[in-house]
């Protein structure tokens, strides 16, 4: 009797399929829901390399810009240093010339002519 009721229940409780209309609607809805969940992730995943490239290029541009700026500044300093050195050398050369002239003048005045010395 126990087996009888069990076998009757087993036979009676065979799974039943939902109606086709509901089944189709269900599949469409679940798939749409799943698709709606996936794009943001895919979009984020797709956007990640782009964002990485953007950040990398901005960083590279900043580093390159700073390097070029520093290089130019250094060149300008070096240039102005060379210019200053050249001016100092020019000044020294001119001073030296003036001193030489002055020395010549003083020397020529300090030394009397030879006939004046012998006539006295």
């Amino acid at each position: 009797m126990s087996n009888d009721i069990e076998s009757r229940l087993k036979a009676a409780l065979r799974p039943v399929a939902p109606c086709t209309q509901f089944s189709e609607k269900l599949v469409a809805k679940v798939c749409a829901d799943r698709t709606a969940q996936i794009p943001p992730r895919r979009l984020a995943a797709a956007g990640r390399p782009l964002a990485w490239w953007l950040s990398a290029s901005v960083a590279a541009s900043v580093i390159l810009g700073t390097g070029v700026h520093q290089h130019l500044q250094q060149q300008r300093l070096q240039q102005s240093g060379l210019e200053a050195r050249r001016e100092v050398l020019e000044a020294l050369r001119m001073t030296s010339q003036k001193l030489n002239l002055a020395y010549e003048a003083v020397k020529s005045q300090a030394t009397p002519p030879a006939d004046e010395q012998s006539g006295a």
Binding site: M1, I5, A11, P18, S23, V27, V30, T35, Q37
Partner: protein, 188 residues
């Protein structure tokens, strides 16, 4: 489902997880019958069963990453369906069963030619408490053994066994009584 089918569905599961629409559709097709039948026989009406089936599969769509295999998927679906149905039944004071003639049959007609007994079993099933009904359905519809039922419903094994025994005893007595009445009616 045999092992070959399980292997195919395991592949479909992997594809569905990666966003393959047709693979997810195949999984829904493969399991909807079980989920819908469980919901229908727990809740008693087609509308409620369809709502629950949809809720369960929508929940699955969000939890697909946590499903490891097709066997796990079957377990997960039965667990979520049973628990949600039990919760619904507990929330309602009484399940409103619609007229037997208006609704789709809860039992398959081809398997059960005795319509009176069919109605009788249906009525007996609906009289059971929600957990007892879930235990009976998982045992005789889903063909799970008591250990699997205990795991699905997160219920102690002894509770499952006692639900099964009590429900079957009740059904046996009431079915015997019905058959006795029918014999009396048929006698000249």
């Amino acid at each position: 489902m045999n092992d070959e089918v399980f292997d195919v569905l395991d592949e479909q599961l992997a594809l569905a997880r990666s966003g393959e629409r047709s693979a997810l559709a195949a999984l829904v097709h493969a399991h909807q019958r079980s989920v819908y039948s469980l919901a229908l026989r727990m809740l008693g009406t087609r509308d409620l069963a369809e709502d629950l089936t949809q809720e369960v599969f929508m929940q699955l769509s969000g939890n697909l990453a946590t499903i490891e295999s097709n066997r796990h998927l079957g377990f997960w679906l039965r667990q979520v369906t049973s628990n949600r149905a039990i919760d619904q039944l507990r929330r309602r004071a009484k399940v409103q069963m619609t007229s037997l003639d208006d609704e789709a049959p809860l039992f398959s007609d081809e398997a059960q030619p005795d319509h009176l007994l069919q109605r009788h079993l249906r009525a007996l099933l609906s009289e059971l408490s929600a957990p007892a009904r879930a235990v009976l359905l998982l045992r005789f519809q889903e063909d799970l053994d008591p250990i699997e039922i205990a795991a699905t419903l997160s219920m102690p094994l002894n509770t499952v066994k006692s639900h099964l025994k009590r429900s079957l005893d009740t059904m046996r007595i009431k079915t015997a009584a019905l058959q006795a009445v029918r014999c009396e009616d048929n006698s000249p």
